[in-house]
Subunit: 383 residues, 2 copies
């Protein structure tokens, strides 16, 4: 099934997965992970799992067996070009799309779709965030393979994560009827996308078995995805098509980017594509049974790195010198300083050369507000 | 009464205070204030009150109006000579006594007493720690003046602090009968010295009005103090006398120090002088009504710098860049890093270039154990 990955010279064979092209939008600072994540060192450029490599490289390594490493496109900010290329030596020039400024996910993924559809009509693209953590590669690959089959059948497909707890930090996908799709035996229709719930609602979702976590994974034929954008955001669609037409000619790309990109509407693909497609019955979901986390804040990072065991202290950092007594939570060390903790529980300590954060898991979501306050307060040097 | 301070050329006049010589033992790292206090930057070399100067200089400034600045002797470690001299430009070479290694307070104060008694028989010395915090200068000076009068009458005098709360971190002095001493109207006999009590005992001490905090201030005629050491620790006394005899000749001091100092018994003056003198009825105490703190740990430092108001956050550090949200306790900043606190209460954060401490007021006493662990663990570079 994954033999395709071994053939860099690819042909259009009969299998939908042979038409699969992975897209990695690598954007977003991850403000809730400040001061670890910064404008110049966003979340996807960090090793948050102790794997020894960045989340971006983890994402690449997860997708390459599915698509082949010649068939992964990365969309990122101009400022991150060098860092991304250093992380991904297999990434060709043709497969890096640089944003002059962030225009949200519809523009990022839609441009990739438009470029790839021009290069290879009928291509099936799958978009996967650069900064999520997944374990269970085999389960991941089989879910993607089913999603690709659903995409080949004309659906906008997504992979929803089977919840393991009543999480309030994620959006949810409500499943509808089973769909009969060849090669996607577990596909179900999506009734709706729902925003982050309160705890009672999350408990109900967990119990009813009909709700999955929205992991922001979208798999579709590029032409179908573009058609969905065209239906809902025609101006944005027109801009993307015009930009893609100019993209592969060095003489026309630059002027087109300068003219079109800054005026594209900023809108998340959840609103421009997923919700309207779900409402129209064009969205299919595959249940993912692998472990997934968007590592949205330090509470999530702590849980991830203690395997959810409370009372433990997770330590992240290559040169960490931590001496802890009767303490739990997480220490992220990006300096070589000695860090001593005494009697602090569920603590979050993030130690970087120019900024230090001390909070608790309970307050981890409020880090973003601090970042905003620092920006307003003239401390952008540490953001 | 304090006019003497204005006459650097002093004569033996009729007032006991004219024979007063202040001694400041400046030793002790202050391990419980790590990583602020270090072997090479002990507690007395820090500004812990936001006064803009070190505790040592505060101590000097407090004593100079009593003794005159030509009559203050500082006993400190060789390693601190330059720092002490930089802090105290008024300190003459003859008035700095350098220890080749720490031998505890009897050796430090006893040597000062022996040197000064040789230079000026009949001198009254008063020893005051270099790293305590006092406010209420007038009350302090009147207590010292009474203690000097009691010393002149032949007592070993101390100043006990009227307790304001049931502190368990201090030793206590139990007062006995009133003494009739000219110039020391409030002097009382000392029944005993008692070690740090538990909370119930401390509450009883606070209620009974007979117990004062032992602030380690001893005022006595140098010959009486030496006689007390001779009674209880004759070998130590003999060593001090021999060392003092060699002290003021550059040819003999060095060899005498090398021969004698390392073999002097290490014992606190509380045990060699104060307790036996109290038992023998030779110890008088004056009640000090000024505010005093030995700033023994970060809980004490936090209380001192928030004026005891809980729920507030004290920030110490010249270049502190602290952004705090719903947090209380203390931040000590010795770096220029941005420090952000969110939702942490009674927190202690001490940020230095090579070491960081995060604990709470409740656990502040345990910092010493961490210092011991770091020493054993091979991290002496940050001690």
């Amino acid at each position: 099934m994954f033999a395709a990955a071994r053939y860099p010279e690819r042909m259009h064979l009969d299998q939908p997965l042979d038409r699969f092209y992975a897209v990695i939008p690598a954007g977003g600072v991850g403000s809730r992970l400040w001061p670890l994540s910064r404008a110049d060192a966003p979340k996807f450029l960090h090793d948050l799992t102790g794997s020894g490599q960045t989340l971006l490289k983890d994402t690449w390594d997860r997708l390459a067996p599915l698509s082949g490493d010649q068939r992964i496109m990365v969309v990122t900010g101009r400022a991150h070009r060098a860092a991304v290329e250093a992380q991904l030596p297999g990434l060709s020039d043709a497969n890096i799309v640089l944003e002059s400024e962030p225009r949200d996910s519809t523009a990022a993924i839609g441009l990739a779709a438009a470029i790839l559809e021009r290069r290879e009509p009928g291509v099936i693209i799958g978009s996967f965030a650069a900064d999520h953590v997944i374990s269970g590669e085999t389960l991941f690959r089989s879910a993607v393979a089913e999603a690709v089959a659903a995409a080949d059948a004309g659906y906008i497909a997504t992979i929803g994560i089977t919840p393991t707890e009543p999480a309030v930090g994620f959006g949810y996908i409500e499943c509808g009827d089973a769909l009969a799709i060849d090669g996607a035996e577990h596909a179900e229709a999506v009734s709706s996308f729902v925003e982050k719930p309160d705890l009672d609602t999350a408990r109900r979702y967990l119990a009813d078995g009909k709700h999955l976590w929205n992991a922001g994974m979208f798999i579709a034929r590029a032409d179908q995805l573009l058609a969905e954008i065209a239906r809902n955001k025609p101006e944005l669609h027109a801009g993307l098509i015009e930009l893609a037409a100019a993209w592969d000619d060095p003489a026309t790309r630059g002027p087109a980017v300068d003219r079109i990109w800054p005026r594209l509407e900023k809108i998340a693909i959840d609103y421009s594509v997923a919700e309207p497609a779900a409402a129209a019955g064009r969205l299919a979901v595959i249940r993912g049974h692998f472990a997934w986390d968007d590592v949205g804040d330090f509470a999530s990072l702590a849980k991830l790195n203690t395997a959810g065991r409370s009372g433990e202290l997770a330590i992240l950092g290559e040169h960490a010198r931590v001496l802890a007594d009767a303490s739990s939570g997480i220490v992220v060390s990006r300096s070589k300083r000695v860090i001593s903790l005494i009697g602090v529980h569920d603590i979050v300590v993030v130690d970087t050369p120019d900024a230090l954060l001390v909070t608790t898991s309970e307050h981890a979501q409020r880090v973003k507000a601090v970042v905003d306050a620092l920006r307003l307060g003239g401390s952008s040097d540490v953001l």
